[in-house]
């Protein structure tokens, strides 16, 4: 068998077991094992490429940047959500199992349906609200003000946190870690005035209160976003919101509503 340039054949091999699901022929996912050559620099994504180019061209997975920034290649590696391009075979000398991201519907092999995720992301109005559009100069924002939200702006939308979240697994309507972290990012931005528009959805039963602080979302986040922190800080905001409403005169009362979109 021919080997591509990137992985010479004289290398050591290990067994990589990959979840397959071919919707036109399978009723449920099955496992398939491959003996994959590897060296110190071989990532799970490289190994998938090797399988696709040398063993089975029908293997389907998403990928693009290879440098952990585009967020395409999320997979389960031995049951833990990981970016394929940033997970290395050298760390699994006894072999590994690669599966589609948990908690999402599987479309084909390692490709899952991300539409629910995008729907949740959109529901929380993740953009600056209340900016004048005509100003010709930038707003001032101190480095400290940037720091307040910067961590939550680093989300690459890879979806690993949704795979790590049992609450999302149990209730796909839960807006989930990345979406809430992004809403929190805008709520913390000194330039934004949209908190009141985002809060109803955050306060709703599928908002922050669906989280039980398992905390695994933050563990698996490849970018240190710490969505669990965002959600649980959101609970404090939500509580304050409730307290304020309780004491507010009636005309200011804005009853929490389900998101309409």
């Amino acid at each position: 068998m021919k080997q591509p340039d990137s992985i010479p054949s004289d290398k050591q091999h290990l067994s990589m077991t990959v979840q397959r699901y071919r919707p036109e022929q399978d009723d449920a996912p099955v496992w398939q094992s491959y003996q994959v050559p590897y060296d110190d620099s071989t990532s799970v994504l490289d190994a998938l490429h090797w399988i696709k180019e040398q063993q089975d061209s029908s293997l389907a997975y998403r990928w693009s940047c290879r440098m952990a920034i585009c967020g395409s290649c999320g997979v389960m590696v031995d049951g833990t959500p990981k970016l394929g391009c940033k997970t290395f075979l050298r760390d699994y000398p006894k072999g590994l199992k690669v599966a589609a991201l948990a908690n999402f519907p599987i479309e084909k092999d390692l490709i899952v349906d991300m539409n629910q995720f995008l729907h949740h992301l959109t529901a929380l109005k993740p953009y600056l609200i209340g900016q004048p559009s005509s100003a010709s100069e930038p707003n001032r924002q101190s480095p400290e003000q940037v720091k307040r939200y910067q961590q939550f702006a680093n989300c690459i939308n890879c979806g690993l946190c949704y795979s790590a979240c049992p609450q999302f697994g149990l209730n796909p309507e839960f807006l989930g870690p990345a979406a809430i972290a992004l809403a929190h990012r805008y709520n913390l931005d000194s330039r934004d005035q949209g908190k009141a528009e985002r809060q109803p959805a955050l306060n709703s039963k599928n908002g922050v209160w669906s989280c039980t602080f398992v905390g695994f979302c933050s563990t698996v986040c490849p970018k240190g976003v710490d969505p669990a922190a965002a959600i649980n800080q959101g609970k404090i905001v939500s509580t304050m919101d409730g307290v304020i409403q309780w004491f507010s005169p009636k005309q200011l009362d804005t009853t929490p509503q389900e998101p309409t979109s």
């Binding site: 029908s58 389907a60 440098m67 585009c70 993740p126 953009y127 707003n139 940037v146 702006a153």
Partner: protein
């Protein structure tokens, strides 16, 4: 075949596509804007840009200076009217992005921070740490969600443009999830499909950067301009080619050969600057073409360092200190640790040049319009004339904002639906569907992966940093051979849903055409200019007398393209020697006109 009717179809969900979608939606909210992309927009390769976006910002800077840097950087092959427009618009576009929430890095005063960049006279590069492209892309994507008239077709793959009597009437796409074909009727179409760096073996680009839009416009008779100019970024990681931003050098990083010597001073970029005191347009802050060429010479002379993944030099950042590195270059620290097991705080990063950017592209006028009525192109897939023979780092992120806006507004103004009967449209769509039907039924013996591998190999061999007639001719021969073998392709995966093998096969078809245009243009440009360097004895110098012209690659079915030549707009700044480092000082002093 499903059908869809829209006013404006935008292909590509990267920075240029998103910016034009927003511009179109703002220009006329009653128009239906459809944004089609083969990946979710936030996966687009804009995401990987690191260093920043250029615009004249500081008091002591001037539009003239940015103009001069860009034109000199282009080795006088930029369209000067376009550059002039660009430098004037860039600032307002970056401010616009600020108003949309982009987390630009700030000074203590709260004002936007700017950093040094290669080939730029002064600090004018706005940045968001070292993930500027990521933040620009996500800011644009998130902002686009505000506009109800923008409808997305995520994970749809463009198969062909539908052109009727030299006017665009729509496009044919495939829904990747189901494999169904979608016929789209559109009043105007914007191509924002990105570059073609993946035709090379060793590149900084994502897997999606395969030249799709370039090839499709080209096959419909739109010329590809200046395709021989392919930018090697001087600092990619060995093995993977992962990008290590120019901002490393902007912040003061230095390049060392195996003797620990700052070799750039030997290549017209000196004198050596003191450690920790980088100087604009000098040493490590020279332009990318010169730095990549210097590496090549060091390699030839055996002064590079042996690394398990090939020859490298060292990028040393240690003197910047841990705190500064984690503030300014956190992503670089993360990448170096993950992919070459080096902590830049403690050790130099091994790097080598890697293909990064396609300067050339779909020929457009200054308004992003192509020769097909209603078809626009913008961003890396286009050649609006900004970069010429060599792009300056941080000009392209600004480009996709400035010209994304232009393209969106133009497409909105000129999106009158061409009157076309449904049957004619369907006929066009059926014809456009033929290649994919052939691939699906193909019963040959050739494998997509083999062909792609050989293409990437021959491009690296014949069309790399230095080129000669022999190598280019050999590559053209290989490409011709690959194109004929492509007709015998066998797609093993016969399924409809997420048939990524089929998509890779289609991308390979696009890449072959684009690669051929690159080699043919390179073969016929018998001079050395910017990123195009010839080793043939008579062609090692710039030759303004014969080649102060754009190359235009014109598609010819079944053979290499015809190369036409187009005059360059040099109306503002006449051609002169391109000097950096100490040699540039007298020249720089003579034209420091302040316009801002």
């Amino acid at each position: 075949m499903r059908q869809l009717k829209t006013d404006i179809l935008i292909v590509g969900g990267g920075g240029a596509g998103l910016r034009s979608a927003i511009a179109a939606a703002e220009a006329d909210p009653t128009l239906k804007v459809t944004l089609l992309s083969k990946v979710y927009p936030m996966r687009s390769h804009t995401v990987a840009a690191e260093g920043g976006a250029a615009a004249v910002t500081l008091q002591h800077d001037s539009l003239t200076a940015h103009f001069e840097d860009t034109v000199a950087g282009s080795d006088w092959l930029a369209e000067q009217g376009v550059v002039d427009f660009f430098v004037k618009q860039a600032y307002q576009e970056l401010v616009q992005l600020e108003h949309w929430g982009c987390p630009w890095s700030r000074q203590a005063s709260g004002q936007v921070q700017v950093r040094r960049f290669g080939g730029m006279k002064t600090e004018r590069t706005w940045f968001a740490a070292d993930k500027t492209g990521f933040h620009i892309l996500h800011t644009l994507f998130q902002t686009s969600l505000k506009y109800p008239s923008i409808q997305r077709l995520d994970e749809y793959f463009l198969l062909d443009l539908l052109v009727h009597e030299q006017s665009i009437v729509g496009a044919l796409a495939i829904d990747i999830a189901s494999g169904e074909l979608l016929r789209i009727q559109a009043g105007s179409v914007i191509l924002a499909t990105g570059g073609a760096g993946r035709v090379f073996q060793f590149n900084t680009n994502g897997g999606i950067v395969t030249g799709d839009g370039m090839a499709l416009a080209y096959r419909h008779g739109v010329a590809l301009r200046d395709m021989e100019f392919v930018q090697y970024h001087p600092t990619g990681l060995p093995g993977s080619g992962i990008l290590i931003t120019e901002a490393c050098r902007g912040e003061g990083g230095i390049l060392l050969n195996k003797d620990g010597y700052r070799y750039l001073q030997d290549y017209g970029l000196g004198p050596e600057t003191p450690l920790g005191q980088p100087q604009n347009k000098t040493m490590e802050l020279g332009p990318r073409d010169k730095l990549s060429q210097a590496f090549w010479h060091e390699q030839q002379q055996g002064r590079t360092i042996q690394h398990p993944q090939g020859d490298v030099v060292h990028l040393d950042l240690r003197h910047l200190g841990e705190r500064y590195l984690l503030e300014r270059l956190p992503f670089i620290c993360e990448l170096a640790k993950a992919y070459v097991n080096v902590d830049p705080v403690r050790a130099p990063i091994p790097i080598r040049p890697a293909v990064h950017y396609t300067m050339g592209g779909i020929l457009t006028d200054a308004h992003c319009a192509t020769s097909i009525q209603g078809l626009y192109a913008v961003g890396e897939c286009a050649s609006v004339g900004l970069h010429g023979a060599n792009r300056l780092g941080s000009n392209s992120l600004s480009e996709l904002l400035v010209f994304g806006k232009v393209a969106g507004e133009q497409a909105a103004t000129h999106c009158n639906q061409v009157r076309i009967s449904d049957s004619v449209l369907q006929e066009l769509a059926n014809k456009a569907a033929e290649p994919i039907q052939r691939l699906r039924q193909g019963d040959g013996t050739e494998q997509w992966a083999d062909l792609r591998q050989q293409l990437a190999h021959t491009m690296e061999q014949g069309c790399g940093i230095y080129r000669d007639e022999q190598g280019l001719s050999a590559s053209l021969q290989v490409i011709a051979d690959l194109k004929s073998r492509y007709q015998q392709l066998k797609v093993g995966d016969t399924s409809l849903a997420f048939n990524t093998e089929l998509l890779h096969a289609l991308e390979l078809g696009f890449s072959l055409d684009v690669a051929e245009a690159m080699c043919q243009a390179a073969l016929l440009r018998k001079e050395s200019r910017g990123a195009h360097q010839r080793r043939d004895a008579d062609y090692t110098k710039r030759n303004d007398q014969h080649y102060l012209q754009h190359s235009l690659a014109c598609y010819q079915a079944g053979q290499a393209p015809r190369i036409d030549w187009q005059a360059v707009d040099t109306s503002i700044m006449p051609p002169a020697a391109r000097l950096y480092g100490g040699a540039a000082k007298p020249e720089a002093a003579s034209n420091t006109e302040k316009t801002k």
